[in-house]
Amino acid sequence: MSEYKYIGKPVKRHDGVEKVTGQASYTGDLKMSGMLYAKMKTSEYAHAKILKVDTSEAEKLPGVRAVIDGRHGFAKLGIYMQDRSVIAMDKVRYHGEVVAAVAADDLETAERAIELIKVEYEPLPIIQDVREAVKPDAPLIHPDLGSYSHTVGVFFPKAGTNVANHMKLRRGNVEEGFAKSDVILENTFTQSQIFHIPLETHVTIVQWGAGDNIKIWCSGQSPFSVRDLFSIAFGVPRNNIEVNILYVGGGFGAKAGIHLEPLVGLLSKAAGGRPVKLVPTREEECSTLPCRQGLFARIKTGCSAEGRILAEEVELLWDAGAYADYGVNIGRASATSGCGPYEIENIKIDSLTVYTNHVFGTAYRGFGHPEVFFAVERQRDLMAAKLGMDPTEFRLKNLLYPGSRTVTGELITENTGRPDKCLKRVAEMIGLHNHYTDAEKAEMKRTGKYRGKAAAVLQKAPAMPTWAASSALVQMNEDGTVRISVSGVDYGQGTYTVLQQIAAERLNLPIEKISINKSVSTPISPYDWQTVASRMTVICGMAVADACDDLKEQILEMAAVVLRASKHEIAFGEGDVYVMQNPQYRVGFNKIAIGYVYENGNAVGGPLIGRGKAIAQGLTNLDPETGQGKAALDWTYGAHAAEIEVDTETGDIEVLQFASCIDVGQVMNEELMRGQIVGGVLQGLGCAKSEYVSHDASGRLLTRNFTDYKIPTFKDMPKKMMVDAVETPQLDGPYGARGCGEHPLISVTSVMANALANAVGVQFFDLPLSADRVYRRIQAGNSGPKLS
């Protein structure tokens, strides 16, 4: 397909051997001499004043080395919004929030000490519904919101309310657009919070040694962010903080930013600098560590009779839970996709990140887009039905094409990517437009198992600060092989393998001659902002390419000396360089890797180190009133389609076939891409069918573990899964590539609910599509409250 030697070729993942042998080391596998074991005391209330924390009995227990509570853990944490202290101080804001912690010689002692800590609470009124939380008389979850530090000019907290951020987006005149519309449709959609469920919890080890020398080992996605935020929280210079990331057992956004590192650090400090290890249980992972936000969305759409969308008004109320650090940016970023990949002249979007007394939210694969696209892509099918149009035709009529402008006013070019092509492709893959025969329909009637098909589009750009950067080092070993160092983390998505391919291509070296760091350590690894936002292949990839170019330049400089030729007269072989005109004059990389030695012993040069960097190009802060500006480094578009079968007697949904097609620009490694897509789609099907976070009336978490938070198993896969890609090159991406780590999860829920509607005529405006709910809705003969 391409002229490349390594790009797009079937290169096996770099970490396979260590992972299939059990030799891959995860943070939880580490043990250090003098290490203590930590345990957390968490709140039994969703919202309560802390009257008293009595740790005296716990402190007396033999083997207990440190006990801390809010008096020690007052430092504020946050990447965008510093709204959370390390340990709850005056009050708790969710069931599961940390109120105290213990470090002891062993875990059993720590557990017993926790039981001895007595906390007195005075319950406060709780808020669980974002619509209640935004009412003027709602109790305030953060009365001091106005005084919180936050990224000024990007986020807009509303003091005296529960609104942590209000993102506004305005284009054209939405009132005029509705006035011109022939058909107007308004719907609301609700989705609960969702858990990430990395199989490895947020395991953390910290040693806060004398002189504030701090060493951190954590199961994290973003070593430099941990360092940065730790430094800001405690006023310790970055040079004093070492963050180490080994293999990571899944992230999905849950491990972006900073989590338990400050808490464990304070325990270590209180224990005189001994290393302290905290392994959250599955229950703690669910109830104490953050989740994906919930969403209430209202969409009003106006269309011409011919099916052109003339105006759209979108209101997003995000259930951020008790803290909204990442939540404010999810509210912001998802609004820039708030109408989907459609060209609409008149737009009004209000995205409010709202505090409630739920577990707090954070980044989750898709960064708000799976939630928004459930609403947007449901709305498209509902509107098409109202117009009497085929939903695919309706989408194709309104999608972004070269020359269109996005909701933030960004111009779409020939190289932006093509949602239309993806949509047409998935429609073809599942036979979306092949109507069921009469015989098939009769069979459905006979068995009570009705089939339905649907498709939906998706989009996402990396959501990150305008200055998010990566860097890379490419160093040559004595034998002419090469080692890459980056600080992006490969927690299985395959980033490092793709980076190896980029280096192999750039340096014309066999892939076996290129190794990459297996772990990241901030004192020695080059800076990277974070491993999030599907930005690794693109930005870190460009940094590696840049570093390879730098290394090549140095190779040329050395070769020019050794071969006594000008640089422009030298060409690259495979592992060596030679004089173009006279190829018999050549020198191997191994001869110049660490310096060239002449016969008499004289040496020149020195170890070859290529350094590279990349930063998002041309992003702007968005206008605070209109949201206009350049929000996206690159848009990855895609589409899904599914055919399902609904058992009307039980409400069970079986996915007969699922097709996914993403415009990745350039397929870097088909097997790894397929891995991302198949895995992401199943995660999305979990959100569609069985996953939801539930609290009781007093705000206590009910879905605390795998007993009641059901993720898909081997028996819950689609019967048939098809993957394809469109390749519209991204000119500033490495070899034309775009990211696709998050995208498979977006619009899975919408496809499922649309297909359900097509199968049995039941319109769902909320999730999950559990058998129980589907059955009851079919029984109620409900064809949708809002669909007239």
Partner: protein
């Protein structure tokens, strides 16, 4: 910190009971270890009963099937003894948790956990099972229908060990159907067992504080389908489900009805029990 006891005979068990306070019995451990980890069970000692020979019996005695207290669900799935009329035990066992846990979880443990949704309970009830328990005071046999007192409560005293579960000699066939939230490992939203041997019995799980047995007495085979509506309604009337995190009351009731009907169809249309795969849904 509970002590660990592992008697290799009943007499060792009785002396260990004397020497230790607050002893909990451990068979497969798939419930007890979870509860201990959660801190929901605190005890002085854990007694692993699996080395007591009497608990490993698995076979027929005087025509009745005896399954020892240490026999796992996996063994039930692999055994020839649990075929024919007792095949319903396989149908139930294959729905219990997942294949890893079935290698540990025991039939007796599932009964003693006394969860309203215990998968082995409805099937055992329709087979007319009874529980043989021993204590330092001697042995007694308790009909399973009289075994359950409430959610997670049964009639055994703290020092009574389940030696075996006894299934009387029986003809006929049965079906167990279970509804769960996903196709993979999950607790029952509803579990319904039905058995026909000239007499018709149904048993229901997860639709009340205790499993329920509905005994219709003798019904001629020809009448099974004729009286379907009435039978299904009678079964459903015994279901007293609640709404919780796993299912709504309405859904539980509807699935009870649906499954009762499906089971009746299966029982009347053929005297063979449904294949395990058919029933596994």
């Amino acid at each position: 910190m509970p002590a660990f006891l592992q008697p290799s005979s009943l007499s060792e068990a009785w002396s260990a009971l004397k020497e230790n306070e607050d002893v909990r019995f451990l068979a497969g451990g798939t419930d007890l270890i979870v509860l201990m980890r959660q801190g929901a069970v605190k005890c002085g000692a854990v007694m692993d009963v699996k080395k007591i020979p009497e608990l490993s019996v698995f076979g027929f005695k005087d025509g009745a099937l005896e399954i020892g207290g240490a026999v796992t669900c996996a063994q039930i799935l692999e055994a020839h003894e649990t075929e024919g009329p007792y095949g319903i035990l396989k149908q139930a066992a294959v729905t219990l948790a997942n294949s890893l846990l079935r290698n540990r979880a025991t039939l007796a443990g599932n009964l003693c956990n006394a969860s309203p949704g215990g998968d082995m309970i409805p099937a055992s009830l329709v087979l007319g099972a009874s529980v043989v328990a021993a204590s330092p005071r001697g042995e007694r046999e308790i009909p399973l229908k009289d075994f359950f007192l409430g959610v997670k409560k049964h009639v055994l005293a703290r020092d009574e060990i389940v030696l075996r579960v006894v299934f009387p000699k029986i003809q006929g066939g049965g079906v167990y159907l279970k509804k769960r939230r996903i196709r993979g490992h999950d607790l029952a939203q509803v579990g319904v067992a039905g058995f026909y041997d000239g007499g018709l019995r149904f048993a229901l799980g997860a639709v009340g504080p205790t499993p329920v047995l509905v005994d219709f007495g003798r019904i001629p085979e020809a009448e099974l389908l004729e009286r379907k509506a009435e039978i299904v309604e009678t079964v459903a009337a015994e279901a007293k489900p609640i709404t919780d995190i796993r299912a709504s009351k309405e859904y539980r009731l509807a699935m009870t009805r649906l499954f009762a009907g499906r089971i009746l169809d299966a029982l009347s249309s053929c005297s063979r029990p449904l294949a395990v795969e058919e029933a596994a849904q």
